[in-house]
């Protein structure tokens, strides 16, 4: 009896030892990093120690950098998305630091995340309040408005005045308007083409063959005779390619910010199913029954896969950027294309690529100085975009460079970093790319409702319901697979049940408030 007792005791002690051992192990496991970042104050202390060290270093060579010598040296982190990891990121980062060290006495830690995982990664890091200085954001990836509401970004108005006046002056107000929420600027837009113009994309070989006069294409209906010619004369070619349909309010003089007719002085928000949309559905259905649209249009996951084969003669593109023929050619199996614009180009906003300063930044004014530098300093900007001269690219004539794609640094994303008018032109780009960009932005129609942001919070459920209905019917109706005469009433009925009117009323209400607040009504 006693024996079992003692053995029990022994077993317990063993257990105890093993548990404490395990605990010790874990402690040891993280002891290493524990030591150097035990508590953030001490880390800060060591940071300042190294800061003084580098400050003295800077002081010893301060003759050249007198302007920055009074600034504390800091390190900034910058998260932004990229296509793929670059082997020479470290080298480029060092080159970038050399420039920034000299000009604003700061170093930058570049943190590129690939596009596919950017959203997830940033959601987690920002939710965990990680110390970040600059975050890339946009209206399509790591969404600007949602994250602003979460309080991820810092308002920039004061910072722009104190340390970024030059940056603020470098762009027109309409760009800043897009980065403004609740009356405050929260991000720095990257200047690039920010206009879109719904267009038809036509393969040039067919346009030439059938002598199509592009001048006669004023609205989408005008293309029908051409589609018939293709259908009759070109077996194996799909006359018209689409996946989700080809309706865009822009074609029918409907504003891009709110669904309101541009010349409507009463500012009435339109219902989801407009007369124009009905017309578009009918047109799609007639084309579908005539065999102009591919049969699996409604279920195709990505139209690009279909276009890639080069067997689609015409398709609709909502952006239709001037000069995008080169890109379309690539996505079209290598055949030349021409664009037939269906509407005036519209300023769609600069929100598609911006850099914001994080709420967790310890040095927001330095981050602002860096953003100003990126957007105004040609050398810094081009180092970020193209890498190191002589290693990753060679200067050729004028503003042109030759990129060596395999040298270890190839971003292909000039629009992530800053103002693209500072960039060198890669070989093959049109000579007037920068002038064109500025011109297109200047000439584009700017919505009078710029700055209005629909707060979806009060009608969240309705929006989810309506989206579900749209998901069910949208593509089938848009591609003409379903007969609108029969299914459109059902669709409208379901939309109504899902609460589409509630959303419209809420939007109207918010719009009226906004108009009143901004003195536009």
């Amino acid at each position: 009896m006693q024996k079992t007792n003692s053995s029990k005791f022994k077993f317990r002690t063993t257990l105890l030892t093993s548990i404490s051992l395990a605990a010790a192990l874990t402690a040891a496991g993280c002891g290493n990093s524990n030591n150097n970042s035990n508590a953030s104050p001490s880390a800060a202390a060591s940071g300042s120690a190294s800061a003084t060290a580098s400050a003295s270093a800077a002081a010893s060579g301060s003759a050249s950098a007198s302007a920055s010598s009074e600034l504390e040296p800091v390190e900034l982190t910058w998260y932004y998305p990229q296509n793929a990891a670059n082997a020479d990121l470290k080298l480029v980062n060092d080159a970038v630091n050399k420039i920034t060290k000299e000009k604003i006495n700061a170093t930058i830690k570049l943190m590129p995340i690939d596009f596919g995982t950017y959203e997830q990664k940033m959601n987690t890091t920002t939710a965990a309040s990680e110390k970040i200085d600059i975050i890339w954001t946009s209206n399509w990836l790591f969404k600007f408005d949602t994250n602003q509401k979460k309080g991820v970004f810092l308002p920039l108005d004061d910072l722009l005045k104190s340390s970024g006046q030059k940056l603020y002056d470098s762009m027109q107000k309409k760009f800043w308007d897009d980065a403004t929420l609740d009356g405050k600027i929260y991000a720095v837009p990257n200047f690039q083409v920010s206009a879109s113009r719904p267009s038809l994309v036509l393969q040039k070989r067919f346009v030439d063959k059938y002598n199509l006069d592009l001048g006669t294409i004023k609205k989408i209906d005008d293309i029908e005779p051409f589609l018939k010619q293709i259908k009759d004369g070109e077996p194996g070619i799909t006359p018209f390619g689409t996946t989700k349909g080809f309706y865009s309010g822009l074609m029918y003089n409907i504003d891009n910010r709110v669904e309101v007719y541009r010349d409507d002085t009463t500012h009435t928000v339109l219902p989801d199913v407009t007369d124009e949309l009905k017309h578009s559905y009918e047109l799609a259905h007639s084309w579908y029954t005539k065999g102009y649209i591919m049969e699996d249009a409604a279920t195709l996951k990505s139209a690009a896969d279909a276009y890639n084969k080069g067997t689609t003669a015409v398709w609709f593109d909502v952006t239709g950027k001037p000069g995008s023929e080169v890109e379309f050619k690539v996505a079209d199996g290598g055949y030349d294309v021409v664009l037939a614009p269906l509407a005036q180009s519209t300023f769609t906003g600069a929100a598609s690529t911006m850099n914001a300063i994080s709420r967790t930044s310890k040095n927001p004014e330095r981050a602002m100085m860096f953003l100003e530098l990126v957007n105004t300093d040609k050398e810094l900007y081009n180092t970020l975009v193209y890498g190191i001269e002589g290693k990753h690219y060679e200067k050729t004539t004028g503003n042109y460079i030759k990129i060596n794609q395999d040298a270890g640094y190839f971003t292909n994303t000039d629009w992530i970093f800053g103002n693209i008018t500072n960039e060198y032109l890669p070989e093959g780009a049109p000579e007037d790319k920068i002038e064109q960009t500025i011109k297109v932005n200047d000439e584009a129609y700017v919505s009078p409702y710029t700055g209005f942001v629909f707060n979806t919070e009060p009608v969240k459920t309705e929006i989810a319901n309506v989206n579900a209905v749209k998901e069910e019917y949208g593509a089938s109706l848009g591609t003409g697979t379903l007969d609108p005469a029969k299914y459109l009433p059902i669709y409208e009925e379901k939309l109504k049940k899902a609460g589409v009117e509630t959303i419209r009323a809420e939007k109207q209400k918010q719009l009226n408030e906004w108009l009143a607040a901004n003195g536009k009504s």
């Binding site: 079992t4 053995s7 029990k8 022994k10 077993f11 063993t14 257990l15 093993s18 395990a22 496991g29 993280c30 990093s33 970042s37 296509n83 793929a84 990891a85 082997a87 990121l89 943190m111 690939d114 596009f115 596919g116 995982t117 997830q120 990664k121 987690t124 890091t125 939710a127 965990a128 990680e130 399509w140 690039q192 083409v193 996951k301 990505s302 690009a304 896969d305 890639n308 084969k309 593109d317 909502v318 952006t319 950027k321 995008s324 080169v326 890109e327 690539v330 996505a331 199996g333 290598g334 598609s352 690529t353 395999d406 270890g408 292909n412 994303t413 629009w415 890669p426 093959g428 780009a429």
Partner: protein, 312 residues
Amino acid sequence: MTAKSVPAKAVAVQPARAKSSFKWSNLIIHLIFILITLSMVVPLALVIVVSLTDENSILHHGYRMIPDKLSFSAYEYFFKSPDAILRAYGVTIFVAVVGTILSLILTASMGYTLSRRDYGLVRPTSFYVFFTMLFGGGLVPFYILVTQYLHLKDTIWALIVPGMLSPFYVLIMKGFMSKIPFEIVESAKVEGAREWRIFVQLILPLSKPSLATLGLFIMFNYWNEWFNALLFIDNERLVPLQLLLVRTMNSLDFITSRPEFALVMSNFNLANFPKTAAKFAIAILSAGPMLIVFPFFQRFFVKGLTVGAIKG
């Protein structure tokens, strides 16, 4: 090979048996197994073939067993800079091996403790383990724990530690070990063995089958793990294979599926890029080594089952 030798032996032992009926049943069994094997081998072969097919011929003719044009461009893309992918293999192998060993030690010792009838806190401890199976802390607290309390960010341990103990495996282990007769422990004690000796020299060898099974599961988990790496690894040198491939694939999908992206994305030559073939190459690259490892493992695995079985 083995399938053939079995009937031959059987025939030798029982020559009196009628040959024809024997053959028929055998033929059917063989056919069934041939079909099953084919249903597994053919898709795999197709994946291999497609990964080696020229992108344009995939676009125009779809997936085919016999491609009309071979191309290694998908693999060339991944091995363009072999450094990255070889290092990724290295990281993954290290994580899988070290992680599996550590995880097995933890799982076995925990399972053993829970399986001991004379351990007074069996119920609360079991409940504690079981509870974590049902409720987790959520992603953000997990992230905060690992980065701000354990300080594992950007270390290889961020890939190993989170997967080290799975409550489910602990319970499986417990179930297996409680089937080992407790008399073994008691008799060992009578012989003068202490707890460590009992665990290491008696219980662990007896648990070989379960260790092999769980080891395989754990190793697969570590091998396929990429989400932790996505969260915690910024250092390119520590990126494991799966994350590298997931990233490549996501980015590919991303670029091609978003019109607004295509707009801002100039001069990226999609036409020359082996998009579809690359996806299949990814499947081969990520599964390949495991396919080679598995048969070896399986041998131990079966051996473990027979040798480790409790006699008497």
